[in-house]
């Protein structure tokens, strides 16, 4: 078994309104910053032991599918690194 950190990034699907991100962008503009757009995402770091990186990825994928992301509104991305 090898120790991995699987990182799951969950973000709203393209085209789904994100009022919190819009509010944050407006607050940055009020502070004098210039920006075109702002996208927010949630990031989960999962420390786990697995036989290989593919197994670690599969497990993180399933966790994203079943809880961390809501497939109706979210896309997610999994990256795996040895820890």
């Amino acid at each position: 078994m090898t120790a991995y950190t699987a990182t799951v990034e969950v973000r709203l699907k393209h085209g789904v309104l994100d009022p919190e991100a819009e509010t944050t962008a407006r607050a940055l503009e009020r502070l004098g910053f210039e920006l075109e757009d702002l996208r927010a995402a949630d990031r989960y770091e999962l420390d786990l032991d697995a036989g290989d990186a593919d197994e670690a990825r599969d497990r993180a994928d399933e966790m994203a599918e079943r809880l961390l992301a809501n497939p109706t509104i979210h896309d997610y991305e999994v990256t795996v690194e040895e820890r």
Binding site: V16, L17, D18, P19, E20, E22, T23, R66, L67, L68, N70, T72, I73
Partner: protein, 232 residues
């Protein structure tokens, strides 16, 4: 006929719901989620509140708790199930009903009375109304914006699964009468079968005559009708 009103840590409309059902003559009990659904359950309400502190997403944690599997089984065997507000978020997170309720367009918590138009009067939840009727209902949510893929929404509309849409006092659906930016102003939908439904507005808060209007009674009357059907 006992309606189980499920309490999670953070539920806060549970007792109001029991009181509203009792006013309509429906036997209703609070059920702590860890205790499981009682065997004599003949109806289920998943009430409003902030279960699990809205961790991760509103309703996400409660939707994956063991009692929801029991609710799913009860729903499949024909038991009426209504999710209100946080219960609606739980219903969608659990897949009992389609779509998702997410952050209001305003990015604010909104607590106000709204009008809703009855879109389909041919369900247990709307049988007391006629299609096109306008009812006044309270909302109180930060995450009530209905989201779903356009194709899926087309299917729901074609299958008459939209229960209510937000509208103005005259029944006109428009962006200005949409309090939270819900897609197509959807305020409530049914599951695969119409005895399962979720809605963001709170019928239990507009049922007791001593607190004001009683427009919500018709929705909760579904449980009265279910009891009558069992007795008959």
């Amino acid at each position: 006929m006992t309606v189980s009103v499920i309490q999670f840590g953070g539920s806060n409309c549970d007792r109001d719901t029991v009181q509203a059902l009792a006013h309509l003559g429906v036997d209703a009990d609070l059920v702590w989620h860890e205790d499981g659904l009682p065997d004599d359950t003949t109806g289920v309400v998943v009430p409003g509140g902030f279960s699990y502190g809205d961790y991760l997403r509103a309703g996400a944690m409660a939707a994956r708790s063991p009692i929801v599997d029991e609710v799913r089984a009860a729903a499949e065997s024909g038991t009426p199930v209504l999710g209100i507000c946080n219960g609606a978020q739980i219903g969608c997170e659990s897949g009992l009903t389609p779509g998702a309720f997410t952050t209001n367009e305003s990015a604010r918590f909104q607590c106000e009375h709204v009008h809703c138009r009855v879109e389909n009067a041919d369900t247990p939840w709307t049988a007391a109304y006629d299609e096109g009727d306008v009812v006044e209902l309270p909302i109180a949510h930060g995450e009530g914006r209905y989201e779903i893929d356009d194709d899926r929404l087309d299917e729901l509309e074609a299958d008459d699964r939209v229960l209510f849409r937000y509208c103005d006092a005259n029944g006109t659906v428009s962006p200005t009468a949409n309090p939270n930016g819900s897609k197509h102003s959807v305020a409530g939908v049914t599951g695969e079968s119409d005895h399962v439904a979720v809605m963001m507005p709170h019928p239990e808060r507009i049922t007791l005559p001593d607190v004001g209007p009683t427009d919500g009674q018709g929705i909760l009357r579904a449980f009265v009708d279910a009891a009558d059907a069992i007795d008959a």
